[in-house]
């Protein structure tokens, strides 16, 4: 494809609470076997974008670990490939990424040294499938300067943490509001943009000169009347996971057969790092209902309406209900877990009870793990 990809993966999120204490939101495990950034990376790879840059900043350890090789997404190529850019001190610059536009500005050489005429920008904390070549064709047909992928979230949905857009009948964006308290429309920006590379370089350099650092506020909103900014409306599945409620409900969406079918069985596939874990194992006493279980798990107890990520161990006579158990969690015998998200590498002692009343409870337990 005639575009390069940029994935904005810098952020932590205060709405993720303890879950993002030790990892960037883009590295959050999703749907049992994946991490959030896999969706954007796979979309780019499947759209034949050969050159992808990931901008990271906040606590990127687990993200970097996940991106240790580009071959999982078929981006291990001689032409192009996967680049990870963290903020760096240079002779000209000594600051962190001060915003999304600044992140691009600090890595402007990546844009300047490419030859592809277009740039696809996407945030890395969304769960969706998209053929960017279709969006690009739309962008070209509309003769747009910037195309913004939008989705109507429906009336009554909680959209105050998103940017909302209003379009005219030709889908040109007329109004753009960032995180309005009272939204006048239910159509939001999905954080996915296409722009012409030279145009983007120009706008980024301009705003850097004016000490403006945010892509939405300082580029999209400022230019909405001077540039041709169009919306590309989607009605396919798209979710942002950067709050605990959305993270929980997005995961639980994968218990629905149509969502699983859309992501797991329909072409093209979503790829993730291969971890070479053995198949999941169920011993006598295991009862699993309406749940997803990933490889490497050993289940001895009851699992109901839950998602077990990789390498979880569920002890004898345990009950796990309406919960998400992240990677490599050890739950000892006779434990009850309900309405919880159990943080990765946790060890839960025998005979414990963790129940989230009303809200989803985040469980971070770091006990000594005894080898069975």
């Amino acid at each position: 494809m005639r575009a390069i990809g940029i994935i904005l993966a810098g952020g932590g999120s205060s709405r993720m609470g303890e879950l993002s204490r030790e990892r960037a939101v883009c590295a959050m495990p999703i749907a049992g076997s994946y991490r959030s950034i896999d969706f954007t990376l796979s979309n780019m790879s499947n759209s034949h974008i050969q050159k992808v840059a990931v901008f990271t900043q906040y606590n990127a350890r687990s993200l970097n670990e996940h991106l240790n090789s580009s071959k999982w997404w078929d981006l291990g190529r001689k032409q192009g490939g996967l680049y990870v850019f963290t903020p760096a001190i240079t002779a000209k610059n000594s600051s962190w990424y001060r915003g999304t536009a600044d992140a691009i500005y600090q890595n402007l050489h990546f844009l300047k040294n490419s030859h592809e005429p277009y740039v696809v920008i996407s945030s890395g904390d969304c769960v969706y499938k998209m053929d960017f070549s279709k969006v690009l064709q739309y962008h070209i047909d509309k003769k747009a300067d910037i195309t913004v992928v939008c989705k109507d979230m429906g009336l009554g949905s909680n959209i105050e943490r998103f940017g909302t857009v209003s379009m005219n009948e030709e889908y040109r964006i007329k109004e753009f509001e960032e995180k309005p308290l009272h939204a006048r429309t239910s159509t939001i920006s999905c954080g996915i943009y296409i722009a012409r590379r030279r145009q983007l370089i120009e706008m980024i350099e301009q705003s850097a000169k004016e000490e403006r650092f945010d892509f939405v506020r300082d580029i999209l909103i400022r230019h909405k009347d001077t540039k041709r900014i169009y919306g590309y409306k989607i009605d396919s599945y798209w979710r942002n996971i950067a709050s605990i409620e959305d993270y929980y409900s997005t995961n639980m969406d994968f218990l629905k057969s149509d969502v699983r079918d859309y992501f797991f069985r329909q072409y093209p596939d979503i790829y993730s790092k291969v971890e070479d874990l053995p198949p999941a194992k169920y011993n006598a006493g295991a009862k699993v209902r309406n749940s997803l279980v990933s490889s490497g798990c050993i289940v001895n107890g009851i699992v109901d309406n839950s998602i077990l990520f990789k390498k979880s161990y569920i002890g004898n006579n345990c009950t796990v209900r309406n919960s998400i158990i992240l990677n490599d969690v050890f739950i000892d015998d006779n434990t009850v877990i309900e309405n919880c998200i159990v943080e990765s590498r946790g060890t839960i002692k025998a005979n414990s009870t963790f129940v989230g009343d009303g809200n989803i409870r985040i469980v971070v337990e770091r006990n000594e793990r005894y080898v069975i």
Partner: protein, 416 residues
């Protein structure tokens, strides 16, 4: 040098279209994954895989060796099929002949030692420890052996060693074994010794390690040592031993443990999503691969990746390989169902008495039903024990929708 060219004819329909090392094992693996993973875990990063019988599945599985970290700048994995020469072109006629024909490959690395493996056993072994033993004894050849019960020893090649583990004599399938140390078909040779023996013996038809090369080396005074291995080692050469080895993985702490952190078994995984259990499912004492959807009941079985078990279906004591679909309300008992099969609704696989198979009782026995890859079984079919089915079958292939115990139904499809 990994010998992976054999058919493994006693696996019957399972090896009709693929070599034995390519047969699925343990839910997501193939048999060759075990020696290949042993290689990389032992630090052997230059591996030649010798293929001959139906190599397509092996070739696509191995590729350039990425899953085993064998995609290397120097060495790595190389698939070595038989090839045409300007004269005396032949197939690989024996184990040692196959190695002889790839002398050029081995010489290109100028090695000190050659490790000879076969691609059809399930085990975890540190070849580096074996090599240290080989070096410490100044051996020319080291043969890995394992103790077997004396009454079974007459099925194996038996090594007789002194207290220093030096092999003094050996016997091929002896009637009255004098030792219980069975050869595992794993050899370390000093490359010079191997090269000389192969050149001297090259005109021997069907040149074989056990029959020709090892006796030749002994007669010429090469020191031979026996490296004793006491771990799990399983020859999955027959359908029953194959089934047993799969079932042993289900034990609470199996003797052969796939869950150990530091001796991982690697495989090519195409399917990554988690597995799904519906409200109507039940599972007990089983292992299940990625991306499988379980709507029915699974007991004491090994299920591969991307399998669908329909609502109300009951699978018991069976092996279901990748991509197979079991229709709603079907019953499957003690069966081996190969990859990408489609079993219709309301079928009953594995009923009745243990009646001997009509065409190949030495292959299809122990009450196992075996269904070949890509087979289709129509709705409401009953298949008896010790039967074998392969191909796209339709209602008229069965009388009264029933295939009695011990029957053979192999349909040739259009392709080969």
């Amino acid at each position: 040098m990994l010998l992976a060219g054999g058919q493994g004819s006693r696996l019957g329909i399972l090896t009709r279209k693929m070599a034995k090392p390519a047969v699925s094992f343990g839910g997501k693996y193939r048999i060759i994954d075990f020696p290949l993973s042993n290689c990389i875990n032992s630090g052997v990063d230059t591996v030649g895989v010798l293929t001959q019988y139906r190599p397509l599945r092996l070739n696509t599985h191995i590729g350039i060796g990425i899953p085993w970290d064998l995609d290397r700048n120097i060495g790595g994995v190389t698939v070595l099929p038989p090839y045409e020469k300007s004269e005396d072109t032949e197939w690989y006629t024996g184990t040692a002949n196959a190695i002889y024909q790839n002398m050029e490959y081995m010489e290109s690395f100028n090695p000190d030692y050659i490790l000879i493996l076969s691609g059809d056993h399930i085990y975890k072994m540190d070849y580096e420890a074996m090599l240290s033993f080989h070096k410490a004894n100044n051996a020319d050849i080291t043969i890995a052996v394992m103790p077997v019960p004396l009454e079974e020893a007459s099925r194996f090649g038996i090594m007789i060693a002194d207290e220093d583990k030096r092999i003094t004599e050996f016997e091929e399938k002896p009637e009255h074994p004098r030792s219980n140390l069975a050869s595992m078909g794993i050899y370390i040779f000093n490359f010079k010794t191997l090269k000389k023996a192969l050149f001297d013996m090259k005109s021997q038809p069907a040149l074989d390690f056990g029959k020709h090369v090892i006796p030749y080396c002994r007669d010429h005074g090469s020191p031979l040592y026996a490296y004793e291995f006491n771990g799990y080692w399983k020859d999955v050469g027959t359908l029953n031993s194959y089934w047993e080895a799969n079932m042993e993985l289900i034990d609470i702490v199996p003797e052969f443990n796939l869950y150990e952190e530091y001796w991982k078994i690697y495989t090519k995984s195409d399917i990554q999503p988690p597995q799904y259990f519906a409200d109507t499912s039940a599972v007990d004492a089983s292992i299940i691969g990625e991306g499988s959807d379980i709507y029915g009941e699974v007991y004491h079985s090994v299920i591969g990746c991307g399998v669908t078990i329909g609502k109300g279906a009951v699978v018991r004591d069976s092996i279901i390989m990748n991509g197979t679909r079991i229709g709603d309300s079907s019953r499957v008992e003690k069966s081996i169902i190969a990859e990408n099969c489609h079993i219709g609704k309301d079928c009953e696989i594995g009923f009745g008495e243990d009646i001997a198979n009509d065409t190949a009782p030495h292959i299809y026995n122990h009450g196992l039903v075996t269904i070949g890859e890509k087979s289709v079984i129509p709705i409401g079919t009953r298949i008896g024990r010790n039967s074998v089915v392969s191909g796209i079958t339709i209602k008229t292939d069965y009388s009264n929708s029933t295939l009695p115990e011990g029957s053979t139904l192999i349909k040739e499809s259009e392709d080969i």
